[in-house]
């Protein structure tokens, strides 16, 4: 193998990873700036990182319609990657906005929080744009390692420690499986480039055992990242213990990133083995929806309830994956975006209502909120309606799209199970609303203060949840263009 260095450099096009570069530079700059910012005013860092995220999002959006491979085919700039990058920017942006108040209250307002959030976003972006197993692995690890730190960010809080510890051990464990899968796929096909794996797999005719086991192990690794049953055991513990804004981020961004890499690997590299993996995804979707929803029914802690609900939502998205047609994959993209808005919105309300030390995190603590703080209760209701999938919210359109994809491909039973699950989930979302509207207020909610950044986050998330529910067609079209390339 001879390598021409000059030729190699010609394949490098930095413009394709401009959003990642902007965010990395911004994160490193923030680490420096942090030293000069007094600990009382770390909130400025939130606005700076928001500026960085907006710049990265804008840069990503300007590339819409292009399809440029770079770094000799290990990274690509295409609509699929851009759509996901915008999802990550939304998730990280909203998280940054709701972080300051929480961290201030919990007394762990170290400025390193914001660079870490930016680095984890860079990792997610690399996962979405990577077309080589190496790039996908590096992106996944950059995302995960930053998240391990973020989950254990509140060092004085024992639950946060525990959350970080569990996430770290189980995350590293699942990485082992993912890597072993990648090694076997490399052995069977002789390359790490996704496009070339697809060629080699197509040439093989009947896929050999090594490739099948490799694909199965890769599926395990990604299923862990998107918290699909039976690889979901870490989710409730980690989500409950982590600082609330970080839980909001973890349940949206990394899940979307997991789906991005998962989709690209399986739809581009292994389409010839579709008969082998689509049944597995089918079973996983049913299990994920059902287990997530049934356990969520009996949760009192709101973060834990939203954790199980996020498992169930991964199941809905897997329905679209099992269908694996344009409607289904576009449905996943659309759903991940709307899920980022509605879920982080719900978590923002949880952040506002919480007391120091997270002592106020149960569903019962929402009692009478509507009488004391009607606006807050109303916007929470909107997010819960959307999570439950009730029109005219974005959650309804997303679910409708995913389930209709399943019907198109003949998976009628899968769609029926999905709809039944969705109906069951209304119970636990409605329970919060019952407490907010029908129960007498036990407290005056005097400590509740809605700061400017949180207001902004709530308004953006609320408007988007409604707007995407009422006029979804433009975004759905974009999502369908985005998945055409794969």
């Amino acid at each position: 193998m001879d390598i021409n260095v000059a030729q190699l450099f010609q394949t490098i096009n930095l413009a394709t990873i401009m959003p990642e570069i902007i965010l990395s530079v911004m994160a490193m700059a923030l680490l420096l700036v942090n030293v000069f910012v007094p600990s009382k005013s770390k909130g400025y860092l939130a606005w700076l990182s928001l500026a960085g995220l907006v710049a990265a999002g804008y840069t990503a959006a300007t590339g819409w319609g292009l399809n440029i491979p770079s770094f000799s085919g290990s990274v690509v700039l295409d609509n699929f990657a851009i759509f996901f990058k915008l999802i990550f920017v939304v998730a990280a942006g909203l998280t940054v906005l709701i972080s300051d108040q929480y961290m201030e209250r919990e007394g762990c307002n170290q400025g390193e929080l914001y660079p870490l959030i930016l680095f984890t976003t860079v990792g997610m972006m690399l996962m979405a744009s990577g077309t080589d197993m190496m790039t996908i692995f590096l992106g996944l690890e950059l995302m995960s390692i930053s998240l391990y730190v973020l989950a254990g960010f509140n060092r004085a809080n024992i639950k946060s420690n525990e959350s970080g510890l569990k996430y770290f051990l189980l995350g590293a464990f699942s990485t082992g499986f993912l890597l072993y899968g990648m090694a076997l796929v490399y052995g069977a096909t002789g390359t790490t480039r996704i496009a070339k794996i697809a060629e080699a797999a197509a040439k093989m005719g009947a896929p050999d055992t090594m490739l099948l086991i490799g694909a199965l192990l890769i599926l395990t690794g990604f299923a862990f990242k998107i918290a699909a049953v039976p690889f979901h055991m870490w989710t409730p513990d980690v989500y409950e213990g982590a600082p609330t804004p970080i839980t909001a981020l973890m349940s949206t961004g990394p899940k979307a990133a997991g789906f991005a890499a998962f989709l690209r690997m399986f739809l581009v590299a292994f389409p010839v083995m579709k008969a082998d993996w689509s049944d597995l995804i089918w079973i996983m979707a049913v299990l994920t929806m059902t287990v997530g929803n049934i356990i969520a029914l009996r949760q009192d802690n709101i973060k834990r309830m939203l954790a199980y609900s996020s498992i169930a939502h991964a199941g809905y998205a897997l329905v679209g994956f099992a269908a694996a047609n344009t409607t289904g994959t576009a449905g996943i993209l659309f759903y991940m975006l709307t899920y980022a808005f509605m879920n982080i919105g719900a978590f923002a309300v949880v952040v506002v209502l919480g007391k120091q030390g997270e002592s106020n995190g149960n569903v019962q603590d929402f009692a009478g909120l509507a009488h004391k703080r009607p606006a807050l209760a109303a916007i929470m209701t909107l997010f819960l309606f959307s999570l439950a999938g009730i029109p005219p919210t974005a959650g309804f359109i997303g679910k409708f799209y995913l389930f209709s994809a399943a019907v198109q491909e003949g998976y009628v039973w899968l769609a029926i199970i999905g709809v039944l699950n969705s109906a069951a989930s209304v119970y636990y979302y409605l329970r919060v609303m019952v407490f907010m509207y029908m129960k007498p207020a036990e407290e005056e909610f005097g400590w509740v203060k809605v700061t400017a950044p949180i207001t902004l986050a709530l308004v953006v998330a609320g408007v988007a949840t409604l707007a995407l529910g009422i006029v979804p067609s433009y975004l759905l079209q974009l999502a369908e263009t985005a998945v055409k390339l794969i």
């Binding site: 193998m1 197993m133 190496m134 692995f137 590096l138 690890e141 390692i145 391990y148 730190v149 254990g152 060092r155 004085a156 024992i158 639950k159 420690n161 525990e162 959350s163 970080g164 510890l165 569990k166 770290f168 051990l169 590293a172 464990f173 990485t175 082992g176 890597l179 072993y180 990648m182 090694a183 076997l184 490399y186 052995g187 002789g190 390359t191 790490t192 409730p236 513990d237 409950e240 213990g241 356990i295 009996r298 949760q299 834990r304």
Partner: protein, 100 residues
């Protein structure tokens, strides 16, 4: 190419030992060592396959895995220390505050 089979067999055995260790050991640091063993088993697989296939992609992958494992170790040990500070134990059975 029975040579390749031997290497793959050894790495599969190493990977299994690591997996069993993660599932059975109680000390978080030992669990982490078992995870490292799994990663090194993967490295061995990559190097053996790379040699067999005659292309360098697998060797390059191993460099990345080693770098990432080092970064992971740094973060992991820091997390263990903060857990130990609050719990005075590094036993994973003591990570039991949250249960459904």
């Amino acid at each position: 190419m029975e040579n390749l089979t031997n290497y793959l067999l050894v790495s599969a055995v190493l990977f299994s030992i690591g997996t069993i260790g993660v599932l059975t050991r109680k000390n978080a640091i030992v669990v982490f060592m078992c995870i490292e063993l799994m990663l090194n088993a993967v490295n061995l697989t990559f190097v053996a396959l790379s040699r067999h296939l005659g292309n360098l992609d697998g060797q390059v992958f191993v460099f990345f895995i080693m770098t990432v494992a080092a970064a992971e170790a740094a973060v992991g040990l820091a997390l263990f220390i903060s857990f130990f500070n609050n719990r005075e134990s590094i036993d994973i059975d003591d990570a039991n505050l949250m249960k459904w």
